[in-house]
Amino acid sequence: MNEAVRQDIANISKNGTSNDTPPANNNNQTTIDSSDSKVANPFYDPSLKKRHARAKIFKVFTLGSLFFSIAFLTFFLFDILTKGIPAFQQTYMLVEVNYNEKSVQSTRKAIDKKYRRVVSRSWYRSVPAQIEANPELMNTKQQVWVLADDQVDQYIKGHYYKLKSKDKKLVDEKIQNGEIELRFNSHFFTHGDSKIPENSGILSAMIGSILTLIVTMLVAFPIGVMTAVYLEEFAPDNRFTQIIEININNLAAIPSILFGLLGLAIFINLFGMPRSSPLVGGLTLALMTLPIIIVSSRAALRSIPDSIRQAGYGLGLTKIQVTKDHVIPLAFPGILTGSIIGLAQAMGETAPLIIVGMIAFIPDSPSSIFEAATVMPAQIFTWAGMPERAYIERTAAGIIVLLSILISLNALAIYLRKRFEIKW
C-alpha cells in the first residue's frame, strides 16, 4: 500500500480517537516528513525504487532459469555431437595380405607379423570368406584396405590410445605414405553388436527396436483408442468411469521400472513367454504407452464439436454409426499424432526392458518376435558400460541415431497436426 495514504489514515485515527499510538506509526511519521520536504506528490512512495528493482530482479531470475534449461540443452547436444560424430568414420589401412592355405587355417598368418597387431581382429575372421567368394585370390599376395584396430583408430582421431611405441611408429609410417585413411563407417549401420569395438554396429538393436515397437503399437493403439472412445462417447458419468479415469492418470505417472517388474512376474514367469524377446518387451511397453494414447485420443475426440454428432442423430444414425463414421475419422489426425508421440516415448524407454532381459548380447539381428533381442536404448546402455575407449564414441553415435529418429517422429507428429488440424 502507498505509504502516504497509510500515513493519512494513521493521522486521522490518531486525531480522531486516542493517544495510544502504535509504534509503527512513529516510524511512518519520520519517513513521511523526510519525503514531504523533497516531493510534493502526496502519493509518492519512497520504497518505489526498491520495489521496481525487486521486480526487475524477479524478472531476471525467471529469464535466467529459462536460460539455464536452454543452455543445458545446447551444451548437452554439443557434447553428444562432438563425442559421437567421430564414430561415423572408421580407420582403414593398406597392407599386404597373403592368401594361402596357411592363412585360411590360421587367419592371423594372412598378414605380415609386423602389422598383425594393428589390424582389427574382426577382419581376420573374414579371410576364409573372402577366399571363398573369390577363389582366384588363393596363393596370391594382394594390397588390401583392411579395417584397423580400435587403438589405431583412436590414435588417428586424436583420442586416448594404447599402442606400443613400435606399433605407433608403424602407424606413423603408414600415415606418411598415405596408406591409412578415415572412411565413412558403414559398418556401424550394417552390423550387430560385437565385443570388438571397431566391428560393432547398431543394426541388430535397430531391428530389435522395430520388432518391439510393432508389438507395442499393435496392442496399445487399438486398446488405447477403444478406451478413449468409450470414455469420451459412451461412458455414463458414474463411479466406475471415474475410477477408470483416475486409474489412467495414475498409470501415466507410475515409474516405468515397475512395468518391468510386471512384465517379469506376469508375462515371463506366469505366462512363460520367452525372456529377452520383443514379444515380452513390446507388451510391457504397450501397457506403458496405453495412458499416453488414451489421454491424447480423448483430447482429439473432445475437440470434435457436438453439432457433428447431433447432425448424425438427426439423420437417424445410431450412436455407433455416428462414432464410427463421423467422429473417429474427424478425430483421427489428432489420435495419430498422440500415438506417434507415445511411440517415440516407448522407443526411448530402457528401464523396463532391462528388467525383462532385453540387454542380451545380440550379434545377429533377430528375425522374429520370439527370439532374444536388444533395443537401441539398451544397446546404448550396454556400450556405455564397456571399458574400451572406442565404445564411448559408439555410444554417443548410437545416441545421435536414436535422437535423430525420435526428433523425426516428433516432427512427423507436429507436421500431421498442422496439416490436418481443423479449426472448428
Binding site: 502507498n2 520495489r51 521496481h52 521486480a55 530482479i57 524477479f58 524478472k59 525467471t62 532459469s65 529459462l66 534449461s69 536452454i70 543445458f72 540443452l73 548437452f76 557434447d79 553428444i80 563425442k83 477403444m226 478406451t227 468409450y230 459412451f234 475410477i243 477408470i244 483416475i246 486409474n247 492418470n249 495414475n250 498409470l251 505417472a253 507410475i254 515409474p255 521400472i257 515397475l258 518391468g260 517388474l261 510386471l262 517379469l264 512376474a265 506376469i266 514367469n269 496405453l290 445410431t318 516415448q345 526411448g348 524407454e349 530402457t350 528401464a351 532391462i354 528388467i355 540387454i359 536404448p377 539398451a378 546404448i380 546402455f381 556405455a384 555410444t395 545416441i399 535422437l403 525420435l406
Partner: protein, 309 residues
C-alpha cells in the same frame, strides 16, 4: 415390416457387442494397475517370508551378494531421498521460474519457440541423460570439487541429482505454465490497477491462486524423480552407503532393483526377491504422491472451471 425389425434387432445386438468390447478395453488399464500391484506384492510377500520385514525397514546394512546376506534398506532409502532432494532443488525453482517467464513475461511468439525447446528436454530418453551424467557431469563434479579441495566420487549423488533435476524441469514447467495461465486475468489486473508491480502481483496474487496446481506439478515431478532409473543406474553408485555428503556415492531403490534382477541368481533367492520388496515401497510411495497430485489438480480445475488441463 418383419425384415426391418429383424435387421434392427441384429444391429442392436451388434451395438451391444461393440459397447461391451469398448468397456473391455477400458478395463485393461485397471487390470494393468492391479497386475503391477499383485505381481509385486506376491513376490514381496515371498521375500518377507524369508527375511524380516522389520529389519528391511530399519536395518542399515544391505549386502545381498554374500553368504550371510543382509537386507536393511535404510541406506538405500536415504540415498534415494538425497538424490531426489538434489533433483527437486534444481527442478522446482528453475521449472517454476521458466513457467512464470513463459506465462507472464514472454509474448506469444517467444513462447511458441520456448515451450517446444523445453519439451525437447522431456523427450530425451533417460539413458541418454545417464550417459551424459556419467561421462560429462560426474568428471566435472570431481574436478570442480578438487578445485575447492574436496574429494568427490565419480559416482557422486550430486552429478546424478543435478541431471535428474534437469530431466524433471519440463514436467514442472509445462504443467505450472498451464496452471498459471488458467488463473483468471481479472485477479492480476485488479492487483496491477492498485499499483502493485508485476513481480508483486505474481508473487502475492497469481502464485497463491495457482498454488494447488504448482504443488501438484511438483509432486508429479517428485514421483518421477523417485522412479527414475537409467540416470542413477549409469551415474550413481551401487554401494548402499549411508552418508550425508552429496559428493560421495550413493545408491537408490531403482538401482538396487535393476542390480538384483540383472544378475544370474535363482529367481526365488532372497537377493532377487528383494527387488520386489523395494519395488513395493516404490509403488506405494509413488501411488500416494500421484493420488495427492491428481486430487489437487482436480480441485484446482473445479475451482476455476477449467476443462482443458
Amino acid at each position: 415390416m418383419k425384415p426391418f425389425e429383424l435387421k434392427n434387432r441384429r444391429s442392436e445386438q451388434i451395438e451391444q457387442a461393440i459397447t461391451g468390447l469398448l468397456i473391455l478395453a477400458s478395463v485393461i488399464s485397471i487390470l494393468t494397475t492391479f497386475g503391477i500391484l499383485f505381481s509385486i506384492l506376491f513376490e514381496a510377500i515371498e521375500f518377507f517370508q524369508l527375511r524380516s520385514f522389520w529389519y528391511f525397514i530399519t536395518g542399515s546394512e544391505w549386502s545381498p551378494g554374500v553368504a550371510d546376506s543382509k537386507f536393511g534398506a535404510v541406506p538405500i532409502f536415504a540415498g534415494t531421498f538425497w538424490i531426489t532432494f538434489i533433483a527437486m532443488s534444481v527442478a522446482v525453482p528453475i521449472g517454476l521460474g521458466s513457467a512464470i517467464y513463459m506465462s507472464e513475461y514472454a509474448n506469444d511468439k517467444v513462447r511458441d519457440i520456448l515451450k517446444p525447446l523445453l519439451e525437447i528436454l522431456a523427450g530425451i530418453p533417460t539413458v541418454v541423460y545417464g550417459f551424459f551424467a556419467a561421462l560429462t557431469i560426474a568428471p566435472f563434479v570431481v574436478t570442480a570439487s578438487a578445485y575447492f579441495g574436496l574429494d568427490a566420487s565419480f559416482n557422486s549423488a550430486l552429478a546424478s541429482g543435478v541431471v535428474m533435476g534437469v530431466m524433471i524441469i519440463p514436467v514442472i514447467s509445462s504443467l505450472s505454465d498451464d496452471v498459471i495461465r488458467a488463473v483468471p486475468r481479472s485477479q492480476s489486473n485488479a492487483s496491477l490497477a492498485l499499483g502493485m508491480t508485476k513481480s508483486e502481483t505474481i508473487k502475492s496474487i497469481i502464485l497463491p491462486s495457482a498454488a494447488p496446481g504448482i504443488i501438484s506439478a511438483a509432486l508429479l515431478g517428485l514421483s518421477k524423480a523417485l522412479g527414475e532409473t537409467m540416470i542413477v543406474v549409469m551415474a550413481a553408485g551401487l554401494r548402499a552407503n549411508l552418508t550425508w555428503n552429496p559428493l560421495e556415492d550413493m545408491t537408490t531403490v531403482t538401482v538396487r532393483i535393476v542390480d538384483a534382477l540383472v544378475g544370474d541368481q535363482a529367481f526365488d533367492s532372497p537377493a532377487t526377491l528383494s527387488a520386489f520388496a523395494l519395488g513395493l515401497v516404490l509403488f506405494v510411495v509413488t501411488l500416494v504422491l500421484n493420488i495427492i497430485s491428481l486430487t489437487m489438480i482436480r480441485r484446482f480445475k473445479e475451482k476455476y472451471r477449467i476443462n482443458t488441463l
